[in-house]
């Protein structure tokens, strides 16, 4: 396989890159992650020499097919499931929509009720709202407890005779709070109801064994786990229960049509393989780093509120509200200092609204507006903490002393992770 030497590979002026590299701190791993160099290494041959169509029966097709199937095995190993239960898609959103629509479609004639939480990602709640508005499903939304945890008993109580699915995320993208999915699955299964979990944020950050969690469906995205953007997957314990959303050729065992995105699937496999190798150790490191960041920030701003502090959280996620501050402004101020984080607000047409997740947790809207999410990962190290804390504390104090004018228009920021 040919590969250009790293020094000649791209046209960006070296100085520009170096300036950027030396200045910046990336703490937005829940939004997206850099592609791991090992992952890039694995995918490059498929971007260049091995460009066959994986559905072709000739040598070039077989080579591409091998890449795709190897990736499926790698993802299966990370998740502890047989590879034939995994289907590649273009992203987490597509995966989630496919599962929800499949269930709605399968039960369209007999009535379909779905129980979910009020802290799901927009691709879950908007899909359910659409299905609800077309009369295909009825939805019950369960609010989390104070610390952001969904109570399995409340899920159980919401289940009706026509309930076909319980869908609760494994870890929340904003707070990092990990949900008691196994307990939720037990409650649902006891009543004969299938369970789906959006595990996009949890994948690679905490070990996920789909068999142990006893899930019927789960969904994943590569770009949260150091793979590239534009590739996702779903797990279906029984693949025959899936109704394809994109139809055409027979790819992905007829569950998802369209020429396989071979290089990106290979990359997802390599990312899964690396996560399988390093996730335990990495989780320990990130947990320590996050806790250090958390205590140092509270030291600097004692009235700061950590969201979901009492709950089990993803190791690298810190969602912290600075009362008297607008998180969206703080994020922009931090960006000017070369620090990439995000505010607590999720994808929404009106971004000045506080996050639906934080509000559902019972955090007062004026506090929730001051939310900033730091999400740590492979791009971070201890030596970034000092500067980060000093800068953040200074900016919070500055903003309190000089609140942004009312006439100042908020940029339309749409955080979609």
């Amino acid at each position: 396989m040919k590969r250009d030497s790293p020094t000649t590979r791209h046209a960006i002026p070296i100085n520009w890159t170096e300036n950027l590299m030396s200045k910046r701190v990336y703490m937005d791993h829940n939004a997206t992650t850099p592609v791991d160099p090992e992952v890039l290494e694995a995918m490059l041959p498929y971007l260049t020499d091995c460009y066959g169509n994986a559905s072709s029966v000739h040598e070039w097709g077989i080579e591409a097919r091998y890449g795709v199937e190897k990736a499926r095995v790698q993802l299966g190993q990370l998740l502890g499931v047989p590879e034939e239960t995994l289907t590649f898609t273009s992203c987490g959103s597509e995966s989630n929509n496919t599962i929800l629509r499949s269930v709605a479609h399968q039960h369209s004639s007999e009535g379909c009720h779905i129980v979910t939480s009020s802290i799901e990602h927009p691709c879950i709640y908007r899909c359910l709202e659409d299905l609800e508005s077309s009369g295909s499903v009825a939805v019950t939304w369960i609010d989390p407890e104070e610390h952001g945890v969904i109570d399995p008993d409340k899920i159980g109580k919401a289940i009706r005779p026509d309930t076909r699915l319980v869908s609760v995320m494994l870890a929340n993208n904003e707070t990092g709070v990990v949900q008691p999915i196994r307990e939720i699955a037990d409650v649902a299964h006891a009543k004969g109801v299938g369970v789906h979990s959006d595990t996009v944020q949890a994948l690679g950050k905490i070990p996920i064994h789909l068999g142990d969690l006893d899930l019927d469906f789960a969904t994943f995205s590569a770009h949260k786990v150091y793979g590239p953007k534009g590739i996702g997957a779903f797990y279906a314990k029984d693949p025959t229960s899936i109704v394809p959303m994109i139809r055409g050729g027979g790819q992905e065992n007829r569950l998802r049509a369209g020429t396989e995105s071979v290089p990106f699937i290979v990359a997802f496999g390599a990312a899964a393989e690396k996560a399988f190798r390093v996730q335990n150790e990495e989780a320990g490191v990130l947990d320590k780093l996050r806790n250090e960041l958390q205590s140092r920030l509270i030291e600097g701003i004692p009235e700061a509120v950590v969201c979901g502090q009492a709950a089990e959280r993803l190791p690298g996620t810190l969602c912290i509200c600075f009362p008297g501050v607008l998180g969206t402004y703080l994020v922009l101020d931090l960006a000017e200092e070369g620090i990439a984080v995000s505010s607590g607000s999720a994808c929404s047409a009106n971004q000045s609204k506080p996050s639906h997740v934080l509000v559902a947790m019972g955090i007062a809207p004026e506090v929730a507006q001051g939310a900033v999410r730091f999400s740590l990962g492979r791009a971070n190290s201890t030596d970034q903490i000092d500067e980060l804390v000093t800068t953040t504390v200074n900016l919070v104090k500055q903003q309190r002393d000089h609140p942004p004018g009312k006439d100042e228009e908020l940029d339309l920021l749409s955080l979609c992770d």
């Binding site: 939004a31 997206t32 029966v57 000739h58 994109i246």
Partner: protein
């Protein structure tokens, strides 16, 4: 062994310039375009440049381009997106020779109570426009017709189709996956409402495509999530692929005239050479207009799959038809619709050229093919046809 890759209608290699354009976005410029911090420079700007380049390739405005995961998704989005906007219209018109992205979807729609008219083609693979006129009904929601056939390369008269649809006030969706980048397409001259495009047919990576939606046309998204692609297509944008697609579109636009001229000469040389050297061979859809890079032939008394396997062993890569259907051993629905006999259709081989195909490769192919066809014919004679 030097491989001769003649399967460019299935997929193409990533152009070196495209790979160069992609790499920074797989390395340091990894930010999420929806994030406010523009990590690694303004990624939004790169997305809009890519959008402009794809738009320029087809004579569209950037705001009419919606990126998707590929041609199949674009076709699905177009057809279902239109049908769900007005559920009182329950009829669509398409052709019998469409790609599976359209055909399989249409068959599924039939199960859901949608009427589908499949227009026939003649022995040259062309449409009879009066069939189209007659098929349109008061409740027709959409006409969905491919620009170029993926197996034969036959180009449909989209200008005339467009005029008929405009006269009758019917929306027109065109599957442009094979045509875009190979045939000159200018939507300022030809009015189309929706056009599906794929990246990997024009030397961009697999996993990215686009749907052109003419300004003012409303469609419902296939699925829901964030506000990416103005809500028409949610999901974090696959930045490297989109940037690569933009670069590929730019390259295609720059060289389309030169490339298609050269490929046409090469294809014609190949066609003539095969007909001269290999008896009992027919060309499928050989009358113009046809894509300049495509040659579909049927070798009589040949099992196409056996020939392709033998070619593969000899370092020649081609296909019997659509890769998306290649695990089926049934004869091509396109050739059957053209009236090619089932047995003859079994002997179909499709050669797809690209801008990287050289004259030497054409000569090598011509020198190798006759012996391979002979070998398969003699084997077939011995074993007999089942």
């Amino acid at each position: 062994m030097n491989t001769l890759y003649f399967d460019n209608n299935a997929t193409t290699c990533v152009a070196p310039e495209v790979k160069e354009a992609i790499l920074p976005f797989l390395e340091e410029r990894y930010g999420n375009p929806s994030s406010p911090h523009h990590f690694g420079g303004s990624i939004e700007g790169d997305l809009s440049t890519a959008r402009q380049k794809v738009a320029a390739l087809i004579g569209a405005s950037p705001k009419e381009i919606f990126f998707t995961s590929g041609g199949t998704e674009s076709d699905n989005l177009a057809i279902r997106g239109v049908l769900s906007m007005d559920t009182t219209r329950k009829h669509i018109v398409t052709t019998a020779v469409e790609h599976s992205a359209v055909l399989v979807q249409c068959r599924e729609l039939e199960k859901m109570g949608i009427d589908v008219t499949y227009l026939p083609v003649d022995s040259e693979g062309t449409l009879n426009l009066s069939d189209l006129e007659k098929s349109i009904r008061p409740d027709t929601a959409l006409v969905s017709i491919m620009w170029a056939n993926n197996e034969t390369g036959v180009l449909f008269p989209i200008d005339e189709v467009s005029r008929i649809c405009q006269d009758r006030g019917i929306l027109l969706h065109v599957d442009g996956v094979q045509a875009v980048g190979k045939a000159p397409i200018d939507l300022t001259q030809t009015r189309i409402d929706l056009l599906a495009i794929s990246g990997h047919k024009i030397h961009a990576p697999k996993g990215v495509g686009a749907l052109y939606v003419r300004s003012g046309i409303k469609i419902k998204p296939l699925f829901w999530g964030g506000n990416q692609e103005r809500g028409r297509r949610p999901g974090t944008e696959p930045v490297p692929m989109i940037v690569g697609f933009g670069k590929a579109a730019e390259l295609a636009l720059e060289s389309i005239r030169e490339d298609s001229g050269r490929m046409r000469l090469q294809r014609d040389t190949l066609e003539r050479g095969i007909l001269e050297r290999i008896p009992d061979t027919i060309v499928n859809g050989g009358k113009d207009p046809r894509l300049p890079n495509t040659l579909s032939v049927c070798f009589d008394r040949v099992e196409g799959e056996a020939l392709l396997m033998l070619m593969d062993q000899n370092g020649i890569v081609a296909s019997s038809g659509s890769a998306c259907l290649s695990h089926k051993l049934e004869p091509s629905h396109v050739l059957l619709a053209m009236g090619v006999g089932e047995e003859t259709a079994q002997g179909a081989v499709r050669f797809g050229l690209s801008r990287y195909t050289s004259d030497e490769e054409i000569q090598q192919l011509l020198e190798t093919m006759p012996a391979l066809v002979d070998k398969v014919r003699s084997l077939t004679r011995r074993v007999g046809r089942s």
